[in-house]
Amino acid sequence: MDSEGLHLNIDYVGSSGIILSPEQKAALQTSLVILKNSGKFHRVYFWGKILGVKDDYFIAQGVGRDEMENRKTFYSKDCVHWGLLPPATKAMREQSKLAQGRFTGDPSYEFEHTEQKKSEDGEEAGEEETITIKEEDRLSSVIAEIDEDVKIVPRSAFIKTPDGKINANRSFEGLSVSESAKLCSYMHFRDAICLQEKSLLQKANLDKAIDFMDTLEEDIPKGSWSLQFERGSGLVTLRSLLWLGYVFYHVPGTHMYGSCYVGNGEKNLDLPFML
């Protein structure tokens, strides 16, 4: 969600139970402007909130001109002071999957994971390996994970220029109402994974400048998105059921769209049973 006009944009996700208190809104409006200026960002997004047991993390992301690359993630506990999160490396993300339970709210807290090592004979040798995972690292990994799994944008909101840069499409005028009711009009904001696997015939109709990302239609399992119209058809809301708490909104016919995550930072692995 763009930090400019945050106090207006946050109202679009209010019906999903995402509300900022007036104090938080006021604080964010001040501190995000400073963050944008000091970090020399092209834009700053209010990413959302990760609920901890004792305290919550507010997350913001600053981006350069190319919005897919050069992304930096910041966290704050009071909406005023922002700390830079370390970029999530592959090893970090593998490790943080082992951490169980809710976030505590203390970035220096360490989760412990004990693993019984099996010897080569296959019998338990009794050797235990303990891995400690810092909450700050886990936070960074979970944010990266959410971005990869569910961060979405409307189709043609971003274009790929011939030199490979990904820019916001200035002439994006929004999806029409009938378009916005289809999952194929929304795309994962990440490097395409399923696109390469498509056949030439399927690729023939794609516009290279626009269709350079995966659409939601191919998501597994089917039904992992809940698409609803609110205010009649005046506002379309997509809620991810894989990461409960991720909400995307778009006002059809306008260039207004955005998304936000407010949840406890745990993937809903029970999804196949719940549909």
């Binding site: 209010g14 019906s15 139970g17 004792k54 009649g232 005046g234 719940m274």
Partner: protein, 527 residues
Amino acid sequence: MTDVNMELNINPKEQQFISAKSYLLTASTDTGLNLYDHLSRVLTKVLDERPNNVVDIFEDVSKDSKRSKFTSDVDTVRDKLDQSTEVALAKVQEKLFAKEGGEDNEPEESEELETPLPNIMELCFFFEQAGIGLNREEMIRVWLALKNLVDTHALSHVRFWGKMFGTEQNYYIAEVEYRDGDEEEEEEEEPEEQQEEEATDKDGDEEGEEEQEEDDTPKPDFKPPPEIPKEENKTGTNKKTYFVCNDPGKPWTKLPAVTPAQIQSARLIKKFFTGRLDAPVVSYPPFPGNEINYLRAQIARISAGTHVSPMGFYQFEEDEEEEEETEGRNDCVINVDFEPVSLRDLCDGSLQHWVHHVQHILPQGRCVWVKVGQETPEEVDDEDEEEEREEPDEPEPEVGPPLLTPLSEDAEIGNLPPWTPKVSSKLIPQYAISVLQSNLWPGAHAFAAGKKFENVYIGYGHKYNMDNYNPPQTAPIQEEFPSGPEITEAEDPTVEEENALRNAQQEAAEAAEEMEEAEEEEDDEDN
């Protein structure tokens, strides 16, 4: 050529210009357009509108102007009705804003009447301080919808219970209590139940008929375990009545009373709501009922788990104390002399100053334990069955924590505290309110400020679990009929065996003949 140009006094530069222009003016063989007109139109548009950084979007401007050639400005259908869903919903919600009756005398009268309608905007204000709840406009709509509910039903108490998200639509839930005298609405409900009972009776009859027709069909000797009777209206899990609607302004639907069986199986499953009350709940173990029943069961569970109030706000009725000491008291009333609990106490980590004011649901699915076996003697038909049933030991009554138990007694989830207390503002703590967030039911919140408190639930209606959901194992495969000699088929004898048997028979016959002959001989001898 040159001669002509010489005649017209055109120098070579102008000549080049003319040939370029005539080239630009060449109409396309496909579309009939020419570049000259198109460029002039685009440039006029750019100069009129003057967008920033026009060079970046020049292609789009050009495309737009080409596209505009194909759309007609003239609307052939003048009085076209726009029946988009947006208009449809607005028309539904317009009724909410309609004032009832005349405008002159109404306000004075309504001021005198005491209305059960809560001041939702005030509560919304407090929740907003804590960053919980819904939009203000949405709350106003909910408020108006609740007002509708109060106007059409005889209610003594109304609350906005919360919002549940579904995959297709959402539920807004209102919690109500009927006025003591006016039980009409509850009577309305009973015929439905009777119908249901009739339906089940009919099924039973049909089965009976079938049995009469075909006496041969084996009867299963499985008897379903006796059904636990559901709690009466106004007690236990059915103490309050709930209404739901998909959008404020749409009609409210009353939820049926919850049965213990529904609560028990709701604990075992985890399903998303769809938003359609009549949708089937496809799950294992099978859920007895539709989504309307599942929703009601989850509401009962969430209410029992998360409805909390500051200590002292509710108290037990004094005269009942002696009578019901053994059973535990089931009802509490508002304490008139309630002294507000201080903020520091409310936000204390031990949570001693918050209490549950809704009864705990026992594993049986009821708030008050009931012994099942003997409660339903009518259902037992066969005398043999009765004898069998007396054999097992008397089940021990299940006991839960009594009403108004402090939250400090709540069980932990793994090593996670069940509640998180918070202060709404750290910058101005003098005017802050205390907020409680449930970790067991994510989405359930409570606030307390002075003499006011409220609970609300906004979420998907699922309990938090440290481990992932595991569906219960399927029942073991039924045992086959024990195989014995009476049902096993005898093997065919082999040729050797047949021959041996035949030989044996022949020998036996011969032997018998010999014997007979011998006997005859003997007889002859005797004679």
